[in-house]
Amino acid sequence: MANVIELTGVTKRFGHVTALDGLDLSVSAGEVHGFLGPNGAGKTTTLRLVLGLLRADAGSMTVLGLDPWRDVAELHRRLAYVPGDVALWPNLTGGEVIDLLGRLQGGQDAARRDRLVELFDLDPTRRARTYSKGNRQKVALIAALATDAELLLLDEPTSGLDPLMEDAFRGEVRALRDQGRSVLLSSHILSEAEALSDRVSIIRAGKVVETGGLDQLRHLTRTSVTADVRTVPEGLERLPGVHDVVVVNHRVSAQVEPSGLEPIMHALTAAGLRTLTSQPPTLEDLFLRHYGVAAGDATDDAGAGRSDRA
């Protein structure tokens, strides 16, 4: 099937600020597409353009085969959106907002709505002004997930959710994918996109700088290898594709490009390998590579998302 979102050369300026600068993005039907970028990269702007809330200065956009600026009503019947900054009417209760948005969306499944309220542990009788950020986020998520939308646009959907709720959310997104629906999910939390996405686009300063399946993108980065050996071999850092070699007593660690894996494994085995851990590249690494931050800074929390994705 065709792409559900197809943006080519999209440019959006706010006064003298160029928020999007010739952005290309395609999301295929039935995939969960991660949309990654640092603050101010243009993620929210892109989503708003896709929704027809903003008007592009240049480029072409097709969403579900429609023009997002002209075919608003028809398009919005088929998609659902969760804004990054969920604002609710302070005097309405959470339940009232969910039902209102559901009706405006063209109807929601009542049973699914109730199940989601239960799942996300939301008290729907409270006035929105008394909700925490996480609870406001849940209201918008429930409203969107309870619809039959073909395409979901989620702008940093888990910001404010605690780990338990984040887990529940991931389960729901996977269920959506199993039903063949498409999701565009923006985030700067890499583990989240990594845990959920089939494909990822990385945006920086209004341009998509990298896009592809996780496997495709992984070859671009380095595996982190740590080994305990009997005797530390000489000249590891001179092997092709091996970087950042650190030796502490009998422990060796290094960052290794795909081409360097074979030579370093030979060397380590020859040196009497006792234990070996290798971590596949994370999106964290990819991300850092593109935004020029030293990769070592982020290895600490890089493991969080991976365990989900065996």
Binding site: L51, V86, A87, G95, L100, A140
Partner: protein, 530 residues
């Protein structure tokens, strides 16, 4: 203690910066109004006899006493000319003080602004202290400037400053009241609502108290607005009465701080009750009504009451303005033939001007919903831009029409009763409803600004004030005719209705439609902004 005040200075500066238009405009408006009225009164009541006569009639008309109070020295031109300002405008002043106080305390908490600043070391008591400081400063400045304006208007110095300081002290008292309600209420809206209720009660207390013969009963002394009347500026200048509002201020301010200490940022002392788990709102129409219905209901009540009072005044009009001068003036203002018609027309025009406040605010709700981020949620559903905007525009237009209809009926009924002429109901209601298209023009201007220049939405109020001022003072300022004619209020139909009325109604309706259509065009092609 000092710790809890950290950051007060910067909050005051920030507050003054945010209010750099609001406060000066408001303070100057009060001073200029008072001064201009003083000048005008000297022409209206040139000799002692005319003053005594006017004061006698005012004091003898119950509805005037209830609405404005009494003239305590019939020989004093000052007491006579300030009659509308002593209680009525003081209540308006109280509302403004409350809005400013809540804006800098509760509303800032709600928007998260204080939390943001609080992170950067902000003492717990800093916001309340800053708001009170701004309020005290503004009230004093308003009082002193008004005193000076009254002196410039030709009134005695002592009385003028007694009057000005009366305003200042009342401002302080209601500032402290708002300081307390801002701690009790759980939202800024309910804080303003609670304070407004208190203002209304104090107003009614003194109305009932003033009606007692011969002078005020103890009820008037229970009301801060009553105190302001009992200062009796230009009629004895009882300075000691000023101590009462100051004492109230001194009592309430510590109470506000004590309450503040007992609650969390963002929370009120009043507990939240759970609401419905299921929504009954079927769409954006329901939502627009739900967001504005209480406000509209309050306006409707006010219009009906105001109308009843105005209507019942009619029978007194003929002898009320006994002097030939006054009759000329009223005829000029009203443009009608009979004096009663002129009076009714003038009051109904005012009704229209007031209804425009509701209409503009209702249309400006669109912008508020947009900046709050609510529009983003709605417009990413199947709701189209046109449909959503129309939901609020309809509330505005229908609300205005309803206000003018009920206000007109109420005036008409009052007039019919007091003139023993049932025919008044229909003709007064008709002319009141005929004001609607002019008010709609203001609403559609607000829509056009929303569509094309959303960031200038507050500027609609400036335009509104300019139009009203041109109508009131245009002649005084020698404003060119074409400029005055720009104001839709200038073309509002008056009694008696004739074929010219139809022309005006059609022309104004057409103008409103064209301007609104223009607004829609802009709105449909612009970006959603914050």
């Amino acid at each position: 203690m000092r710790d809890t005040l950290v950051g007060t200075g910067s909050l005051i500066r920030l507050g003054l910066r945010r209010d750099r238009w609001l406060l000066p405009v408001w303070i100057l408006a009060f001073a200029v109004m008072a001064g201009s009225t003083a000048t005008a009164s000297a022409d209206l009541f040139p000799d002692l006899a005319s003053r005594v006569e006017a004061a006698r009639r005012l004091n003898g008309t119950a509805s005037v006493v209830a609405l404005f109070g009494r003239v305590y020295d019939p020989t004093s031109i000052g007491a006579l000319s300030m009659i509308k300002y002593t209680a009525f405008m003081t209540a308006v002043l109280a509302v403004l003080v409350v809005v400013v106080m809540v804006r800098h305390t509760r509303a800032d908490e709600e928007s998260g602004r204080l939390e943001l600043l609080g992170g950067g070391r902000l003492g717990r008591n800093a916001p309340l202290t800053a708001a009170l400081t701004i309020c005290v400063g503004a009230s004093l400045l308003l009082g002193l400037l008004s005193g000076a304006a009254l002196v410039a208007g030709g009134l005695p110095v002592a009385g003028s400053f007694a009057f000005g300081l009366g305003w200042a002290a009342t401002g302080l008292a209601f500032g402290a009241v708002a300081g307390v309600t801002a701690q009790i209420a759980s939202t800024s809206r309910s804080a303003i609502g609670m304070s407004s209720m208190i203002i209304a009660v104090t107003y009614v207390l003194r109305a009932v108290g003033d009606l007692a013969e011969p002078g005020p009963s103890f009820l008037s002394w229970l009301s801060p607005i009553g105190w302001n009347q009992q200062v009796r500026a230009y009629a004895g200048d009882r300075w000691w009465v000023l101590l009462l509002p100051l004492a109230l201020f001194a009592v309430l301010v510590p109470v506000a701080f004590a309450l503040r200490a007992r609650r969390d940022l963002g929370a009120g002392l009043r507990e939240e009750r759970p609401g419905p788990a299921r929504g009954s709102l079927a769409g954006v129409w329901d939502l627009a009504v739900r967001l504005q219905d209480r406000v509209l209901a309050a306006w409707l009540v006010a219009f009906v009451l105001f109308g009843a009072v105005i209507g019942s005044l009619v029978s007194g009009v003929e002898d009320f303005f006994g002097s030939a001068n006054a009759q000329d003036l009223i005829k000029q203002l009203g443009g009608g033939q009979a004096l009663t018609d002129a009076f009714l027309s003038a009051e109904i025009t005012i009704l229209g001007i007031l209804a425009a406040v509701f209409g503009i605010a209702a249309v400006n709700h669109l912008r508020a919903e947009e900046t709050a981020g609510h529009a983003e949620s709605l417009l990413s559903t199947t709701t189209t831009r046109t449909r959503w905007a129309t939901s609020h525009v309809v509330v505005a237009l229908a609300g205005v029409a309803l206000l003018m209809l009920l206000g007109g009926l109420s005036i008409g009924a009052g007039a019919a009763l007091s003139l023993h002429d049932g025919g008044q109901v229909a003709r007064v209601t008709a002319v009141s409803v005929a004001q609607v298209p002019g008010v709609w023009v203001m609403c559609s201007i607000a829509l056009a600004v929303f569509g094309w220049l959303p960031r200038l939405t507050p500027g609609v109020w400036g335009l509104y004030v300019a139009f009203v001022a041109l109508g009131e003072f245009g002649v005084l300022w020698h404003a060119p005719q074409w400029l005055t004619d720009l104001s839709p209020f200038q073309h509002a139909p008056r009694l008696p209705l004739d074929s010219g009325t139809v022309t005006a109604v059609v022309a104004l309706t057409a103008t409103a439609a064209v301007v609104a259509a223009l607004g829609y065009v802009g709105w449909r092609r612009r970006d959603l902004t914050a």
